[in-house]
Amino acid sequence: MKVRLESLGPITVVIPQGRLDFGAAAAFQTAIEQALAGATALIIDCAELEYVSSAGLRVFLLAGRSSQSAGRPFALCALRPAVREVFDVSGFSRVIAVHADRDGAVAQIRQRSV
């Protein structure tokens, strides 16, 4: 799995590409922690994320918790159907903000920061 980062002003966008399985989870967690350290808000754009397992869900859960305790907005967007299904079945899409696209995630974060 590869991870790209983009900046939208104060918002950091993390873009995981490929498969987030057990083997990729540790590196993804490190990437997220680094991104969180310098961000006032974090969006994980999942448009290029093909697969996620419970090992990957754990990283999203930890990132959501860290963001919440630091008082920083955190959202996911653009989940592909196979990934969306895992988030829905696990109930994670009820505890983590999930938007259809990046614009929706950005709009919500900007609204909250006003």
Binding site: S54, A55, A82, S90
Partner: protein, 147 residues
């Protein structure tokens, strides 16, 4: 169609068994959209044996069998580790808040939700977890030509 492979109980083998599944999928001409569900089931069940069913000093062998028959896909994972029924674990609370959510047991929960049927059996010195799901029949060559 039926295939099987055996690997040591080692996290590094996840990539090997995943590739085995993907090759089976292509050879059987099964719909790619359904592959992810089985990749997920395989990862969760396989990693469960690696993480929880492999006591120090004993590295079990894990056998993965795949069978597609009469529109039904069957994944069977067997290991020669100590008796362990992952289906006996309590289900996670999927309605808990972000703070209270736990990941333990989530993998097996996902498999149970996404498969039609999952069953455990201890036979001799082996654990056997069988997952199956009816999947849409593969497109015929003629149908594929239209796309």
């Amino acid at each position: 169609m039926r295939r099987r492979t055996t690997v040591p109980s080692d996290a590094a083998q996840l990539a090997v068994v995943t590739q085995f599944l993907q090759e089976f999928w292509r050879a059987a001409e099964l719909p790619p959209a359904e592959a992810r569900t089985f990749e997920l089931a395989l990862e969760e069940i396989f990693m469960n044996v690696v993480m929880h069913g492999s006591p120090a000093g004993h590295e079990p062998r894990i056998e993965v069998s795949l069978e597609f028959c009469d529109g039904k896909m069957i994944l069977t994972v067997e290991d020669d580790g100590p008796p362990f029924d992952p289906l006996s674990l309590p289900p996670p609370d999927v309605t808990a808040s972000l703070e209270e959510r736990r990941v333990g047991g989530l993998g097996v929960f996902l498999v149970r939700q996404m498969m039609d049927d999952v069953s455990y059996r201890r036979t001799g010195k082996r654990n056997r977890l069988r997952s199956c799901k009816r999947i849409a029949p593969p497109a015929t060559s003629a149908e594929r030509m239209k796309h």
